[in-house]
Amino acid sequence: MKVTISLTVNGAQIRRDVEPRTSLADFLREELRLTATHLGCEHGVCGACTVMVDGAPARACIALAVSLDGAEIRTVEGFAEDAAMGVIKEAFHQEHGLQCGFCTPGMLISARDLIARHPEADDVGIRRAMSGNLCRCTGYQGIVRSIKSAARQLSSQGKQP
C-alpha cells in the first residue's frame, strides 16, 4: 500500500504517494526524473548515489523514501547555483577529476561535505574521507588533486561550503 510523503527536494516542496519499498534513489530518478543520482551497486557500497539528506551525505540507494517524510534532500542538480560547488566542479575540470562521469555526482557531494568539515585535510585525509566513493576510471589521483585544489581556493577566498 502506498504511503503519502512530503519532502523538500532541491528547494521544491514535493508530495507523492510511494510504495514503502521505493528507495530514495529510485524516487529521485524515476518519480522526479532527477537522474544525476546514479546507481552503481544498490547496496550502499559504491557511493555513486550519495545525496544530501538534512544537510549530511547519505546513500540514496539504501534510504527508503517513505522514511524520509519531511526531510530535505539535495542532489547535484540542486547545487547548480551553489558557489562552493561551482569551485569544486571547476577544480574537477581543471585537475581531470573525472573520466566516464558515472561516479562524479556522488564524488562531488562527498567532496563538498569533506571540504565543509575538514577544509585543511591533507592527501591522506582526503583519501580516507573519499574511500566510500568508488571510481573505476581515475585511480583517484585526479580526484584527490581536484579536492585539494578546491579546498585551497575556497579557503583563500574565505568561503566555505
Binding site: C41, K89, F92, L98, C100, M130, G132, T138
Partner: protein
Amino acid sequence: MSAASAPIDGDNRQGIGSSPRRNEDRRFLDGKGEYVADIRVPGMSEAVFLRSPIAHGRIRSVEVPPEHQGKVFFAADIAFAKPIVAASAAPNFQRSDYPPLAVDKVRFVGDIVAICIAPTRAEAEDIAQACVIDFEELPPIWDIDVALAPDAPLIHDHWTNNLYVETRIETGDIEAARKSAPVTVRKSLRMGRHAGVSLECRGVVAHYDRRLDELVIYSSTQFPHVIRSILAECLGVSEGKLRVIAPDVGGGFGIKNNFNPEELAIAALSLKLGQPLRWIEDRREHLIASPHAREHRYELTAYADQSGRVLALDAVVVVDAGAYSVWPWTASMEAGMSAGIMTGPYDIPIYRGVARTVCTNKSPMGPYRGVGRSGACFAIETLIDEVARSVGRDPIDVRIENMVRPESMPYRSATHKLYDSGDYPECARRTAEAIDVAAIRKRQTEVSPDGRLIGLGMASYTEQTAHGTAEWVARGLPVVFGYEPALARFTPDGKLVLFVGIQNHGQGLETTLAQVANQELAIPVADVIVRHGDSSVSPYGMGTFASRSMTMAGGAVSAACAQLAEKIRRIGAHLLQAPRDEVHLADGRVHFGTQSVAFKDVCQAAFLHPERLPEGEDPALEVNAVYQPGRSTGAFSYATHACVVAVDPGTGHTEILDYVVCHDCGTMVNPMIVEAQVVGGVAQGLGTALYEEIPYDENGQPLASTFLDYMIPGATEVPDVRVLHMETPSPHTRFGIKGMGEGGAIAPPAAVLNAVNDALRSLNAAVTETPVTPERILDAIASSAGQRVSA
C-alpha cells in the same frame, strides 16, 4: 625521442602534445550525463532476467504462477532470434551456440532462463522470484581440473571434451635448449577470476520508432555499429532497420565490448511484443553474469645461462573461459593473446607456447583491460625474477640485459609479433632510477620499526595496440577491425562537428579528437563537437577497445581535417584577395599578413553564399575520410612499472608505499589524459593484484556476488602513481601515436607479486597466485615455516 613531463598548466596551445581540459566534463559535472538507465521511452516496461541459480542442469519445466502468465517469456517466444556463435577460425575449435535465452540446458549460475516484464523493476523482480524452475541437475564443472578430467560430463553435449581449443606456437628448437641450458627455472602460477566492474552496469533499452520504421536499441556498449551488424544477423532484419545508440557509457574496460545475450533477448522480445523494454543490469548480475576476466594458470620453464640470459621459454597457458564463447572475440582470445605475447619485451629466440582454453560452468570469459597481456606479463615477469634469483643477481639487471635492444627495432619476436619502435632498456632504467633502487635495498637491510617487510618489484611489458587488418585476420575472428572513419563537417556558423565510429566512455575522445582537428585546422578545441556512439549519426566504425581509438580515429580525423584545411585556405585566400600560398590558419581564422577572416565567414561562403566562393570551388565544407595505419601489425607501446610494498607478516596485509611507471606510447596527444589513463589502469591492475576475485565453490556457485564480498580498490588502496613519459613515435601511424588505454592495467599484478615475494624473501616464502590476499601471504609464510621446521 624526448622525455616529456606532462605540461598541465599554463599552456594555451591546444594541438597534439598539449593538455586542454576536456570538452565533455561540463555535462558530467552538472549531473547531466545521460546513461542508459536515464533513458525512458513512453509505454516502456522493465525487464528482469530469470537467471539460473544452478551451475549445470537441464530445465524440466518452469512454473509461472497464474497471476504472472503472459509476463514471462522463454526461448520459444523469441525462437526467431538466432543463437550467438563466436567461432575462431583455428582448426579444432569446438563451436557452441550461445542462445539469448537458455534452450533446455543452463550452463552457469546466471545463465538466462526467461525474461519477466512489469511496469517497474521491483515488480518484474517479484515475478522472477515467484517462478519456480524444475531442473535435472548435472554435475557442475566448477574448475579447470574438473573440466579436463577424463570422464568429465560435457557442458556442450556435441563436443568431444570440455576444451574449446588448444593452439601452439613453436619457434626454434626447445628440446635442444632444454638439454644444453646451464640453468633451468620452473614456475607455476595462477591468476584469480574476476569481474570487469564498470561503475555503471550494463543495460539495454529497446523500442520501435514507427516514423522511421526501425528498431532502436540503446545499449551501454563500446561498439554500437558492430552491435548493429550482429544484431541484424541474429534478428534476421536489415541493418537499415536497426539503430544502435550507445549513450553516455559509465566505463567499459572490455566488458561492454561483447555482443551479449541480454542485448539480443531484449531486442528480440521488444520486437516481438511491439513494446518498449528496458533492462538495467544490477551489480549482482554484473558480478555473476557479465563476462569475466582473467583466471589463468601457467606452467613455465625458462632455460638460461649463468648470467641469467634467457635462451628459451616453454609456457603452457590454461584459461578457464567459462560456459560460452563470447562474440566476436571467441573463447580462445585470452589464452591465445597471452601465449602470443609471452616473450614480452625480451629477446628470447626460442619459444614454445601452448594455449589451452577450457570450458566450465562459469560466466563466459571476455575481454578486460589488458586482455591476455596482464597474464603474459605476470608470467614472464615473475619468471624473470626467479631466473635472476637462481643466478644470484638483481632482477633489475637481468631484466634489462634480456631486453630487445633499441638498435634491433623493428624486431620480430619469437611469437611472430613485429615490435615497431622503442627503447625498452632505457625505460626500465628510468623506472629503476625513479623508484630509487639503491635506497630501497638499503632500507631492506635495516630493521623496520613496525616489523613490516619491504619489497621491491618491477615488471615490464610491450603491448600491441591499434592493430589492424593483418592482426585480426591472423586471429581468425568473425570481424576484422581494420580501420576507422571520420566525417568532418563544418556548420554554417563556423563550428566543426566530427562524426566518428569510436565510442567515448571516459577516454576524453571528445577532446583529443578535437585536438587533432586543432592540429590540422587551428580551430579552438571548444569549437569542435565530437559525435559518436550512434549508428545512425556516424559513419560505420568499429568502436573503442584494444587501445585503438586515438590512433585509428585520430588518423581519420586528421585526414578529413587536412582536406578541409586545404579548402578553407583556398576560400579564405579568395575572401582575403590573397595568394593561396600566403595564407595560414590560426585561432579559427585564415590569416594573410595583418588581415584575417574568421572560419565563420568561410563557412558562410561555403554553405550560404556560394557566390562568394572562388571559381570552380564546390560549396559545403564536409569531408569523409577513412584511416588505417601504414602497417596493420600494431604500434607497440611499452612500459616498466616498479612498486615498493610493505608486507605485514603478522596480518598478511600489503601496503603499496610507492609506485612508478615509465611508459612510451609514442606521440602523446594530451599528456594530462595519457597520465590519467595510466593511473586509472594501474588502479585496476592493483585490483587484479590484491583485491578482486570471484572464487567458485564445488557446486559451481560464485562466492562473490556483491560489493560486500567483491572488493575494488578505493582511494586509500591506490597510491599516488608517479608517471614518467618517453615518446618514441610509431613509424606506422599518423603523428606517431600508439595506443595506451589498457597499458596501465597490464603490469601491476606482476610488479606487486614480485614486490611481495621480494619482501617475503627473508622468510623464504613466496606467493604464486593473485589476488595476493592476506590469507595467501600468511599461508605462504606458514608453509615455509613448516618446511623450515621439518627440514
